[in-house]
């Protein structure tokens, strides 16, 4: 699923003068067939994270075929020319590794954490299944049932997820973020193995591949290995990404979801811009800082004002992903107790936004917000998985991992007036879609 609020890792030297600390060396290479390799060496433990990223995701599906990118991800584990169904994961386990994959609207990634000495083997296996996937009809018939269970578990039986699914579909008219990555159940029931095969032909081409390796490896060595595995795939051109321009909202929208639930919830969303390096750095960084002030740290304004002081919800937060493609659907939400009303929460939310849009922000709050965004980048360096993921997603959405430092620099430049201005411009009631989860009375409401 798409990540709501994940920042990338950037140059540490901006925040610390500690000499004992080395900047990571990110190195990259591009092969003639379009495959790209990015390596971040880290020799602290004899482990490596290998991630294969594809520039294809839920956004590239045709209408009526939602969920296909994710279904395809599952099929990657169902056998290739050399490996039987399920054998890929078994082999990874047998070399002391763990593997998995994820799909979002914007990209698909396959990853393995393995002993560093086995990286070559893993790259060979990844390239083999990429080139020679079996796509067997019987395996598909079983796997589509697994995915329907996944949807039941994550969405159908979870009223909060359901609200977010519906609100996305209501808020956006054209942008593919309006469809769930897992797919609508109606579509999941009608997908066929032929759909999967044509998706494979169209999108699983070398030009869409980014290999990211973080860990105890040597760049020159893995470059040679990727060269003789992924680098030898026959070049084929990738279709352009599906990227319609979302029309500007013409006024506020409201919707209600009535489902069996214990307590109500309200969510407020609106389309906002994402980062285009060199074009809108200040604006997007200011939106990130504004969201941090609303939802980050111990003094988060949504929690402090709406939960602690005004008692309009028992939990409130917000999220923004500056690294989406085209737009992001910015959101805030409140979890409501039995006697807290959606209307009062909304009114309180817009009063808070109005205060931030009309008053000069005090510098201590601003500095703390920026410092915490930057600290999160450092804390993210603690995990090989997050380090690789930050590189991969910047590459997959077209920003480029080499822009990591520019993002931190943009955060550092945000001033109080910038925050006020972006809130005034983007976080507006007349641009918002508001959704309410109303618990449906009746059977099983309480257990």
């Amino acid at each position: 699923m798409r990540q709501a609020f994940l920042f990338l890792a950037l140059g540490y030297l901006l925040i610390s003068s500690d000499a004992a600390w080395a900047t990571p060396h990110m190195k990259s290479a591009r092969f003639p067939n379009g495959v790209k390799l990015v390596v971040d060496e880290s020799h602290a433990a004899p482990v490596a994270m290998v991630q294969v990223w594809l520039k294809v995701g839920g956004r590239d599906e045709m209408p009526g075929k939602t969920g296909l990118a994710h279904v395809f991800e599952h099929m990657m584990f169902k056998g290739s020319r050399k490996l039987g169904p399920g054998e890929f994961s078994k082999r990874i386990a047998a070399i002391g590794g763990n593997d998995n994959a994820f799909t979002t609207h914007d990209y698909t990634a396959y990853f393995e954490t393995v002993p560093a000495s086995r990286v070559d083997e893993v790259l060979g296996m990844e390239a083999e299944r990429f080139a020679h996937l079996r796509l067997d009809a019987e395996e598909f018939a079983k796997e589509i049932r697994v995915i329907q269970e996944e949807r039941r578990m994550r969405t159908e039986d979870d009223p909060n997820s359901r609200l977010f699914e519906e609100i996305s579909a209501t808020a956006l008219r054209l942008h593919p973020y309006r469809n769930p990555v897992i797919g609508w159940m109606q579509d999941l029931r009608r997908l066929t193995i032929e759909d999967v095969r044509s998706f494979y032909k169209a999108h699983y081409v070398p030009e869409n591949v980014i290999v990211v390796i973080v860990g105890d490896v040597e760049f020159e060595h893995v470059k040679a290995v990727v060269g003789r595995t992924f680098g030898r795939l026959r070049p084929r051109s990738a279709p352009p990404r599906f990227a319609p321009v979302e029309p500007e909202p013409l006024g506020p929208k409201r919707m209600v979801v009535r489902l069996p639930a214990q307590l109500p919830m309200v969510a407020i969303t609106m389309p906002v811009p994402v980062w285009r390096p060199g074009e809108n750095d200040r604006e997007v960084a200011a939106l990130a800082v504004a969201t941090q002030i609303l939802a980050g740290g111990y003094g988060a304004r949504l929690q402090r004002d709406l939960v602690d002081r005004e008692r309009l919800a028992f939990q409130a937060s917000a999220g923004y992903d500056p690294f989406g493609m085209g737009i992001d659907l910015w959101f805030a939400y409140g979890m409501l107790g039995p006697k807290q009303s959606a209307g009062q929460f909304e009114a309180g939310f817009w009063r808070l936004i109005e205060r931030l849009a009309s008053h000069e922000l005090d510098l201590d709050t601003l500095e703390a917000a920026k410092r915490n965004i930057i600290a999160d980048e450092v804390f993210a360096q603690d995990s090989l998985y997050l380090r690789a993921k930050e590189i991969g997603r910047l590459e997959a959405v077209g920003i480029g991992a080499e822009h990591r430092d520019a993002w931190l620099e943009a955060i550092r430049k945000v001033g109080p007036a910038d925050v006020r201005r972006v809130i005034h411009k983007w976080i507006r009631a007349d641009r918002a879609t508001t959704g309410v989860l109303q618990p449906k009375a009746g059977k099983g409401g309480r257990s």
């Binding site: 540490y12 610390s16 500690d18 004992a20 600390w21 080395a22 880290s42 433990a45 004899p46 482990v47 584990f77 399920g86 994961s89 386990a93 047998a94 070399i95 002391g96 763990n98 593997d99 954490t113 393995v114 018939a141 079983k142 796997e143 589509i144 049932r145 697994v146 329907q148 269970e149 039941r152 578990m153 159908e156 979870d158 909060n160 639930a261 307590l263 111990y298 003094g299 402090r304 939960v307 602690d308 008692r311 028992f314 939990q315 979890m335 107790g337 039995p338 201590d364 703390a368 917000a369 410092r371 915490n372 930057i374 450092v378 603690d382 995990s383 059977k443 099983g444 409401g445 257990s447």
Partner: protein, 433 residues
């Protein structure tokens, strides 16, 4: 304050090619054990102080008291009200957190190297100078009541609460650490203060630290901020009764979901169980090893009945729950349950091959380094080692222990733990009418 014991670095011979970083240990005169693993590649530290003040110390009928205490400790202090405290933590980018499990209360900190001094001061202030603000207490309690009610939308939470009640009844492990809407409502500030007064003491506490610091630097700060703290908890970790065995129970809870959750539960092994490693390997083969486990193979891969199925046990001071869990479309629940029973029966009757065992051991041994690849994970492991009194070379000998597990041992443990008649079954889902 003087320091009583000097550092003891444990560097034992180990089988893997990779030198697991040693755990350095020091003990303060007041009884706090400091465990450190140095890691200098990122300018940050993670740490966690673990004390015997978990939810087993909740007064009967007041489940969630220790969890509320944990929330109160990091919410404000006697020196900083809530707003000032939030401002202080944000200014220094301190990630101060707290939570409880059945046995222990944890207060944790993630901090940039440059803010270590402020961070250590904040950790100590939270623990040693509680604010007991009545207004904040009533807000936190009410929010906890609502959150506990919201959590009842999750079938897993409903099943978990039912399982604990079924297995343990009035035993101190018999409720969710978070509490229920009703139990939280009954808690008063005095309940929190009583747990604090009796259990939040330095003697026997474990401060596990991983990150960009050396032992002398660390000890200087620990002495400075925790040196004057005195006392021993009223009840030691080990003071707890064994629950009576519950087997063969069945329960069905109505929920308006499309899936039915099926949970198999029984009492599992304790943390210090002599057969810990054979049971651990057995569980990995059964349902703890993801796609490498038999339950995943049979229920998902062969039949497409579930997205996930897994088994786990929670090794505590005494046996915590041993659980097998799946979710499937309601009309498939019987079939899924039948397959699980068949897998258990196969394990009990010895249908475990040397090849399967070797595959599980290779997977576990090979992926061991991954369990240690972040400060947060290292702190979790060291806290567990310190709190449950495991040997300091536990990590160095871990892979050797796994390798030493024999087929006979695994078959023996399967007979002991997986006989279906010793288990209980809880279902949460729509009851057909």
């Amino acid at each position: 304050m003087r320091i009583l014991l000097s550092c003891l670095a444990v560097m034992l011979v180990h089988v893997s090619a990779w030198a697991v970083p040693p755990i350095q240990q020091a003990t303060l005169p007041n009884g706090i054990r400091v465990l450190l693993m140095e890691a200098h590649d990122v300018p940050m530290l993670s740490m966690q102080l673990t004390l015997p003040a978990g939810s087993r110390f909740d007064p009967l009928g007041k489940g969630g008291a220790a969890a509320l205490l944990a929330a109160m400790l990091t919410d404000h202090t006697a020196r900083h009200d809530h707003d000032a405290w939030a401002e202080f933590l944000d200014r220094h980018a301190l990630r101060l957190g707290s939570d409880v499990d059945k046995d222990a209360l944890h207060v944790s900190l993630t901090v940039l190297r440059e803010s270590l001094n402020d961070g250590m001061g904040a950790l100590a202030e939270a623990l040693l100078y509680p604010g007991w603000d009545e207004n904040r207490f009533s807000i936190l309690r009410q929010d906890a009541v609502f959150a506990a009610r919201k959590a009842l939308e999750e079938p897993g939470v409903v099943a978990n609460a039912a399982a604990l009640e079924m297995l343990y009844g009035d035993h101190p492990y018999g409720h969710r650490s978070e509490g229920s809407p009703d139990s939280l409502q009954r808690i008063g500030m005095a309940d929190l203060q009583a747990i604090y007064r009796r259990q939040v003491k330095p003697a026997g506490g474990v401060l596990a630290v991983s990150g960009d610091v050396t032992m002398p630097e660390l000890l200087k700060l620990v002495r400075q901020y925790f040196g004057a703290w005195e006392g021993s908890p009223a009840m030691a970790r080990q003071d707890i009764a064994e629950p009576r065995l519950v087997r063969g129970q069945q329960s069905m809870l109505d929920m308006p979901t499309s899936q039915t959750l099926v949970q198999f539960v029984r009492l599992g092994p304790a943390r210090n169980a002599p057969d810990f490693f054979p049971i651990f390997v057995l569980n990995h083969m059964l349902g703890g090893g993801g796609f490498a486990s038999r339950l995943m193979e049979e229920v998902r891969e062969k039949r497409g009945l579930v997205y996930g199925i897994y088994s786990y046990f929670v090794p505590l001071t005494i046996g915590g729950p041993f659980t097998i869990m799946l979710q499937t479309r309601a009309d498939q629940a019987d079939e899924a349950e039948r397959i699980v029973r068949q897998v258990m029966q196969d394990f009990v009757s010895g249908k475990i091959s040397q090849r399967m065992l070797d595959a599980a051991k290779t997977h576990l041994v090979g992926s061991f380094a991954q369990r240690l690849d972040s400060n947060r994970e290292r702190v979790g492991l060291m806290s567990m080692i310190g709190f449950y009194g495991l040997p300091l070379d536990y990590l160095q000998t871990w892979t050797a222990h796994v390798r030493a597990v024999t087929l006979q041992q695994v078959r023996q443990q399967a007979k002991r733990w997986l006989r279906f008649e010793d288990w209980n079954v809880i279902r949460v889902g729509p009851i057909a009418r």
